[in-house]
Symmetry: C2
Subunit: 317 residues, 2 copies
Amino acid sequence: MCAALFLYLWSHNMEKFSITILGCGSATPSPKHYTSSQVVDIRGKLFMVDCGEGTQIQLRRSRVAFARINHIFISHLHGDHCFGLLGMISTFGLLGRTAPLYIHAPEQLWSILEKELDFYYHDLEYQVEFMGFDPGKTTVVYDDRSLSVTAFPLRHRVPCAGFLFQEKTTADHLDREAADFYGVPQWDYNRIKEGGDFITADGTLIPHSRLTVPAEPGRSYAYCCDTIYNPSMIPVIKGVNLMYHDCTYSIQDAERAQKHFHSTAADAARTALDAGAGQLILGHFSARYPDESVLLNEAQQIFPSTILAKENLTVTI
Amino acid sequence: MCAALFLYLWSHNMEKFSITILGCGSATPSPKHYTSSQVVDIRGKLFMVDCGEGTQIQLRRSRVAFARINHIFISHLHGDHCFGLLGMISTFGLLGRTAPLYIHAPEQLWSILEKELDFYYHDLEYQVEFMGFDPGKTTVVYDDRSLSVTAFPLRHRVPCAGFLFQEKTTADHLDREAADFYGVPQWDYNRIKEGGDFITADGTLIPHSRLTVPAEPGRSYAYCCDTIYNPSMIPVIKGVNLMYHDCTYSIQDAERAQKHFHSTAADAARTALDAGAGQLILGHFSARYPDESVLLNEAQQIFPSTILAKENLTVTI
């Protein structure tokens, strides 16, 4: 019974792809919203995206097993996206962290972060590894067997990157009945799943396609914040299952959005529509909208499958 | 009626001396406590003491008119006392601040703060004035007509200062009946109040003491955090009306307190007793005490006039 429960939970975790919003306000923390941060959970691996002031406070409130966060991705060097880093680094140390922490950020950040680490943390018990990238280019910033993270240029007042989390397609599933029917030995299962054909004892070729069920396509999530309307990124994020997009303003404040290189709800929705996204989460709200449903309604006119971000919301793909 | 109300409120504000706790946890923010920060309101002038991460969040939640904060005092350069500074500086700018902001801190802070300001804030619309001091010395760090702030050494793992807010004695109050009786002209009132005698028309000297009622003594508040038990500071804070003292640990964890250069509740109470303080506020709590009344009880055994700090508590002298 316990073993079955364990296996169920483990396999459930293996399939998991979720995003937990820690902060979705813009510019400054307010009584309503923390500044930008979220945790992406892909099959039990945790990645933080952006780290505004107060992120660690939210992290403690959430159910995220934050000691397992090994990678933090920073989109750009505005304070509302990165002022929580130093405190987070400190807290990880105080909680006994020994594993390295990888910070993937626009390369310019290192020029100040290095000095800050040197000033405040003489005796940090773990390594902070800075993985700088050029936010003006589309670059794979993280890559392992099961997923990759690609940074792609956004359009903002300072160099800014979005992030595409792309799950890699797993091996096809074995059709056990077919495998038994054709006498495929167990030790050969993996090779079949990964694309191999099988030759029976009498020399008949049984193609891979007859012995397997195709794997589900890898799931994907795109974080697009902060940015003005930016259609040039659409090819990178085409067909994404879930998108989080800058929605600082309503279309009524389009001029202000233009001026500050942010998006309106309509911009976000149009992007989701043109990218063929599965679902859109609006975030990075300006404090000028006491009722954000105005943004939601505006987006849903164009892209019905839209929701509003809010603190501690978890969205699962 | 309106004029009377205005005068009442204005005079009430003129007498005000209060401390609002924004954060009284230690080391890291937790679901229970924000890290160190408070606002001292003396006759309408607002001073911030320490600025841990998340302070601006708490500030927004409080009723403090934070746009009127012109001076921030930093006790020492541990992150839980100063990581909220950058975000605060940014937010003040976004809210349209033009008046200078004075940061009084151990002089070493400037070596990193200068670089951070240069990195993040090219276009700040107001001036950040850094007023460094040597935390190893007793120094007046702020002085005006009605109050002074003195930094004095504490004993911690890094150089650390406490702050004494001392209201200056106002001029004595005029005894109007006596003044009228002796024919003191109105234009001479101020001189009398400030210590002058009066000579009547027939040449009789009427001493100051017969024409006035003594002013109340200036009120005082001492912020003593972070520190191990530190009796050498007692002469500086002797007779203080209100004291906020490091109370990271219980006496049962005295060894840990010693090791980390913090105080126990008993240490804080002993200090308050020996200093002849009016009232003691315990703060900077370790997260290891789910129920802080254990600290309160411990202190009250020695110094009954003790209370626990908590977020958004305002204590008035």
